[in-house]
Every structure is written in structure tokens, then in C-alpha cells.
Subunit: 425 residues, 2 copies
């Protein structure tokens, strides 16, 4: 089945808005085993919309159109859909009533301009939008079934998942139960993960399990997508593959599915009724910034301290001097002192000694990390390379990951792909 996507709107075409709706649509379809073959973006222009619809209708089996269902004069999707399908626009009384009720619930009268949103091409099938006034619909143009969706991201997402993907799966004849398993890891690049996981999908010999990756430095997402008769069947099928992925990626997995590294840390700490202090230098508050605002963190996150100077770090946790410079010993001393000073059960200290000079591709930093937990401290040293931003992002992630590993009783010393083995001096 050939699927195309058409994105509409001057906002997207002129770059005022980055086209994340398209990224969302194509990823979601990939996840269920459907592939987008062609994408077109056109503005709010009658001629271009009509041509885009006609071309896609001549090439594709299914088309998803995004945007242009709003109440304003530049929302043209219904009008051009009707024209391309060779039918009239007809008022959908049921949708009009839905919209009036929608406004009434908010104690407002529906503005007359919204009436336009209930005009659909004759014979169109309604695609429900329970959270907005834009009415989705499906209609045939050329040889393709067109699915019209709203530009508001949360309305699009809901409609895509509840209304459109089930229809596309049915048409495609693909088995419609889909199971998507995701693993988030830190410290493994995409090519190493690909090598480490070679052959895992073949543990299910019928070819219904697909392995994929999505790298967003410094984390890597590994996806397993499976298709089958029903969810029980799928879970049974996928269980040995999941186990094998867990075994091969091992300690590098920081979280699964919708969970995050910082969420895992927060849960581990909350489970122990523990409290956390963080001490940062060049990461500048970005370690605290990952955890302190989360729901539930108000009970766990005790204190975050940021300073750019090692003497200030020592002073901020009640120590004199500056130890022996930026070393693991200093990081351990700072973590222990921070724990005492703020009265928390746990402390994470991330000290960084940056290269001199301007930013450049091989700009590096020596990172000294310590986690204090109870009476123990765990140190970790690394050299990160790749420019100021990469060093900073890498150090934030490595600090958090050392804390996670400590909380989960794992070693913090596993080598990661982003660090240099040789050290400065």
C-alpha cells in the first residue's frame, strides 16, 4: 500500500513552524509497520492544494492531509477536497450539533465562522475529533482514500491513533494488533547497538518483529515493533526478544517505554524515602533542571548547588580550600559534604575541568563524578570531547546515569562510546 502525506499551511511552508506533525505521522506509521512514500507541503493556496490532491490521488492508495480544517478564510481543505473529489460541500448537521454543544459546555455561543467546519464533501466519512471543533473526514480522490486531519498537534495525534491507523491497517491487510517496545540507553552509539543486537529480531522466525533505532544524543532509543493476532499473542512472541535485548544492552538501558532516566531516578529515590542534593559546575543547573521540577520531586529533591569555581563549590557545601583540584577525590569530598550540608540521604557531584580557549569540534572536558549514598561514595572519571555543548550534554547525562546505576546496584565504570580513553596531561 502506497501512503502519502500532504501538509498544508503557510506557517509550515514558510518555516514559521517546524513540521513536527509530519515527523509524528510518519513515525507512528513506521511503528505499526506502514511506510510513508512521499510527502508534500503546500501553502494555503487553492491551486497548489488542488494540484497536490490530484497528484497524490493519482499515485497513492492512501493519503493523510494535515491542516486547513479551521474556521478561518485561509482554511481551505474541505473546499478543495470537494472540488478534487468532484462533489458538493454539504452541511453535516450532526457535527454542527456537536460543535454547538462543545461551545455550550464552555458557556459560550458558537461564532458563526465555525459553521464552516461542519461543511464536508458529500459522501465523506466522519473521522471523530472528541477534543476539538475541526471535523476529520475521509473521502476518495482519484484512486486514493484521503484522510483529512486537524493541524492542532494533540487533535491530530488522537485522530491518527484512534481513527486513521486502524483504517489503514485494515485496508493494508496487515495484522492489526501492534506492540511497540522501546528501550532508552545511554553510552552506546547507534552502530554499536546495531552490532550488539544483530539477529535478535530473528528470534521470532516469522519475520513479524522489526528492530529500529533513533539516536538523540546523548541517548539512543531502540525500538522493537511486532505485529500479530492479538496482544496476548504479541506479548508471548516478543518476550524472549525483549529479554535478549535487555541482556545484550545490559546496564546501558536507562529506562523502558515512556519512562525516562530522571523519572527512574526519582522513583528509586522516592521508593527509599530518600532525598537528593546535586552539586554542579559547567553543567550549570541542567542536572537539577532535569529532576527538580518533576511531579513528586518536591518530596525528594532537597537542594541543588551550582557554581563555576572549585573554591566556590567547596565553600557552598561548607568545606575550606579546593582539595587537590578537579579530581575524583574532590568530587567524593564534595558529594559527602553536600549530603551532610543539606541533610539529604544522597548527593551527586559533577565537577568539570574544561579545556582553555574558544569552542571547537575537539573542545573537551575532564569530568569527575561522585555519588554519595548512605556512608558510601562512588567515583567516576571521564574525558568528554566534541565541543562545549556536547561536553555539557554528555556530562549531564553521565552524572544522572551514575546516580541511576548506584541506585540500581550496578557498576558505574562501564565504558561509554562518547568518552576518550586517553586523559589530559
Amino acid at each position: 500500500m502506497r501512503i502519502e502525506v500532504i501538509c498544508t499551511g503557510d506557517e509550515v511552508l514558510t518555516g514559521k513552524t517546524v513540521n513536527t506533525n509530519f515527523t509524528y505521522i510518519t513515525q507512528k506509521l513506521e511503528d505499526v509497520g506502514l511506510a510513508v512514500k512521499w510527502e508534500t507541503t503546500v501553502g494555503d493556496d487553492r491551486d497548489d492544494l488542488l494540484l497536490a490532491f490530484q497528484l497524490a490521488g493519482a499515485r497513492a492508495d492512501a493519503v493523510i492531509v494535515n491542516g486547513g480544517l479551521g474556521p478561518t478564510v485561509d482554511d481551505l481543505s474541505q473546499e478543495i477536497a470537494a472540488k478534487a473529489a468532484g462533489v458538493e460541500l454539504v452541511l453535516n448537521e450532526a457535527w454542527l450539533a456537536r460543535m454547538e454543544a462543545f461551545f455550550a459546555r464552555r458557556s459560550r455561543v458558537m461564532p458563526p465562522s465555525n459553521r464552516k467546519q461542519a461543511l464536508l464533501p458529500a459522501g465523506a466519512e466522519v473521522l471523530d475529533n472528541p477534543i476539538g471543533t475541526a471535523c476529520g473526514f475521509a473521502v476518495n480522490i482519484g484512486k486514493a482514500r484521503f484522510h483529512f486531519t486537524p493541524g492542532v498537534p494533540r487533535e491530530l495525534r488522537r485522530m491518527l491513533e484512534s481513527e486513521i491507523i486502524p483504517r489503514l491497517l485494515e485496508t493494508s491487510g496487515l495484522q492489526s494488533a501492534i506492540y511497540l517496545k522501546r528501550f532508552h540507553s545511554f553510552g552506546i552509539g547507534e552502530s554499536r547497538a546495531d552490532t550488539l543486537l544483530s539477529g535478535v529480531a530473528d528470534l521470532v522466525p516469522d519475520g513479524t518483529v522489526k528492530l529500529g533505532f533513533r539516536a538523540h544524543y546523548p541517548q539512543l532509543e531502540t525500538k522493537l515493533a511486532a505485529r500479530g493476532r492479538d496482544m496476548d499473542d504479541l506479548r508471548r512472541k516478543l518476550a524472549p526478544v525483549e529479554q535478549e535485548v535487555r541482556k545484550r544492552l545490559g546496564h546501558y538501558i536507562v529506562a523502558e517505554d515512556d519512562r525516562t532516566l530522571e523519572g527512574v531516578i526519582l522513583d528509586e529515590l522516592a521508593r527509599r524515602e530518600a532525598t537528593l542534593t546535586t552539586v554542579e559546575m559547567f553543567t550549570g543547573g541542567q542536572i537539577a533542571g532535569r529532576i527538580a521540577h518533576l511531579p513528586g520531586a518536591e518530596k525528594v529533591f532537597r537542594r541543588g548547588i551550582v557554581t563555576r569555581d572549585l573554591c566556590d563549590v567547596f565553600a557552598a557545601v561548607g568545606l575550606d580550600g579546593r582539595g587537590d583540584g578537579i579530581t575524583c577525590e574532590s568530587a567524593e569530598a564534595v558529594a559527602r559534604a553536600a549530603q551532610r550540608h543539606a541533610g539529604s540521604t544522597h548527593a551527586l557531584a559533577v565537577l568539570i575541568d574544561l579545556d582553555e580557549g574558544a569552542d571547537r569540534l575537539d573542545f573537551s572536558g575532564n569530568v569527575c563524578i561522585a555519588v554519595a549514598a548512605g556512608g558510601e561514595t562512588v567515583p567516576r572519571r571521564s574525558r568528554l570531547v566534541g565541543g562545549r555543548d556536547w561536553v555539557r550534554l554528555g556530562a549531564v547525562e553521565m552524572g544522572l546515569d551514575c546516580l541511576r546505576r548506584t541506585l540500581q546496584g550496578l557498576p558505574v565504570s562501564d565504558r561509554i562510546d562518547f568518552e576518550r580513553v586517553e586523559e589530559k596531561n
Copy 2:
């Protein structure tokens, strides 16, 4: 002149990469007064590439193709360009020599696979790429002039600005000196800015000045683009418009052109040889995280303190108790104590009292801000609405903006568009 863009590559088509290259291209063209009419994304597929080139060649005057110039087997742009243009691929000896020199400078031998990057359609014009091995080129397909560009963002950007935009401006007959002036503001929504600035572009009566906006909450970017004979002419032309924009947006302007709010703050502090302490609650380190890592901040940023509990805030700056709760008086007391405690000349305290319960669209927070500078403290109170993320992002920006306003001797009390007038009890 009708301009189209074709983006190529499975990474973009499957959503592994968000298509920011397209956004960059279309924005850059908009900035110089050129408009993209149509965008197509296709994968690394010979049939789809050929069809996309043919269709665009039949519709457009100029086409920019992005991606597919690399050394691997799935890089197909030159091959399909030659086929669409009806010419052979020819080895460009000059580019081959450039590539060999490129590798030699890095003490490496050019891998044989890179030779492919010097194969261009016969008669193609080279578009220089001084920072990579992908050779840009221009060739006619159908009635359009096609410009092929690399997928690596920094190579694309350089080629677009140095090679392609000048050619497009020449072909379009537009005057080629372009001046783009940008103002970054906080506290004004796009529609209010549009009203405030109505008519400013008409101060230059020949219609060569264009006003535009780009909203990225919580900031708004206002752009003035002008076209003229030469830069002196343009600066002269634009000066009164710039003055008028400054007058009308007034204190809401946080920075101009490539400068940022945090950069302006850092410069103001550095100029005074001043030092800064920040104290945060729900913003969780994200205020410190905007400033502390910047080059130069190591001399200015003295200390950042994050806690989620008001008693902990007081304790962290050496005060007892919790004052009278989250009020402006508490924020002022905390800012003064933070200044003393860390020995800094300036301190910013941002205290937040969040609504109870789960996140929702009308989730709100009362924000109490104080800036201590020398012996003075300046308070600001606000109620921000729009869900946990919006409250947090708004509070970060408002805290930083109060600091900027204090440093620039401006009032902090100007009402902003994102706050509610009514307050919680």
C-alpha cells in the same frame, strides 16, 4: 519566480530526523524576500526521486534539492539529476583534486567510495562547498534551474548563503543587498505586537521593508527585512523603522539580532564586574541553566541554589523559618540573604506557589520574584497559567527579564500578555 524545495533521504521521510533543513531553507529565502511555493520529501528511491525532479522541473523556475550527495550507495542525487536532465555523469577532475587535498590535510588517504562525490551531470555548474566533500551543483531539469545541496546542516547553510541565494536573487531581478534586523521580546504576544507595529514598514514608502514575526513561547521574534542597492543605502533606509520598532516595543525588547536575553544579562553584569546568585524553586535550576554555562559566566555566576520547599530555600541562604510564605516580601528577603550568603553583588530569587493537583490546561502558579542589586531590592508578582510546562517556562523567562530590566534601569512592572490579572486569594 516560483521556487520549490525537494528534501531527500529515508531519515527524513521516516521521521528519524526532523526536517529542520527545510525550515532553515524556507526561512532564509523568506528573509531575503523569496518565497518557497511547494516542498516535496522523498526517500532514497530512484523512481520517486526521478518523478519528484520531473514534476518540480515542469512547475518551478528554481528548485533546491537537499541531501543525497554523500559517498554511500543510497546517495542518489547526482545519478538521478543526470537522468532527469538527460545527460551523462562526468568525473569533475577539479573536485576530485579538492577532495584528495581535503583528506591529505587530515593526513588520510581518500577512500575509493568518495570518488563518487566528484561525478556530476555533464554541463553542471559547481556550487562550492569549502567545508565538506559533497560537491554542490546547479543544472537545468525541465524549465527549472536545480540547485543540489548537501544534507549536513552546516554545509547546507554555507552553500545556501554564499552560492544559492545570490544566484536566485540575480535571476529574480530582486535587488540583492539584504538587511535583516531582528528584535527579541518577552511579554508581548504576536497579535499585540502586530497591532503595536501596524504601519511601521510603511515608514519606507517604496515597499521594500517587510515586517514579520516568529513566536516561540515565551519569546517573540520581530523581523524587519529590507532590500536595496547596497548596505549603506539599506542601513539609512531602515534606521527610522528600527527606531520606531524600538520605541513601540520599548522595554519588552530583551535583545537584538544574534544576542540573547541571558547574553545581555551576562554582559551587563560583566561590564560592572558584578557577580550573580540565583535562587529557584519549581524552575528547578533552569534559570541558572540559561546563564551559568556561557563563556564568560565563570567570572560572573557566583552561585545557583535550587530547592522545592520554602523552608529549605530559607535555610539554603542562611535564614530561619519561612517568612510569611511565598510572597514578594519573602522573595526580597531571600534575594538579600542570597547576596550576603554567596558574597555576590546581585541576586535573583524566583519563588513559586503551584496549584494543587495534576497537570491541566489551566494549571497555574503564583510567581514572586525579587532582584537584589547593591542595597536595593525590586519585587515583581505574577500569576502564570497554561499547564506545568508553561508556568515553568514563563517563570524562567520572567525571572531573567526582571533581572535584565533592573540592570538596564527599567521598570519591572509592565504587564505581560501571559499573566492573569486576578490573583489566587
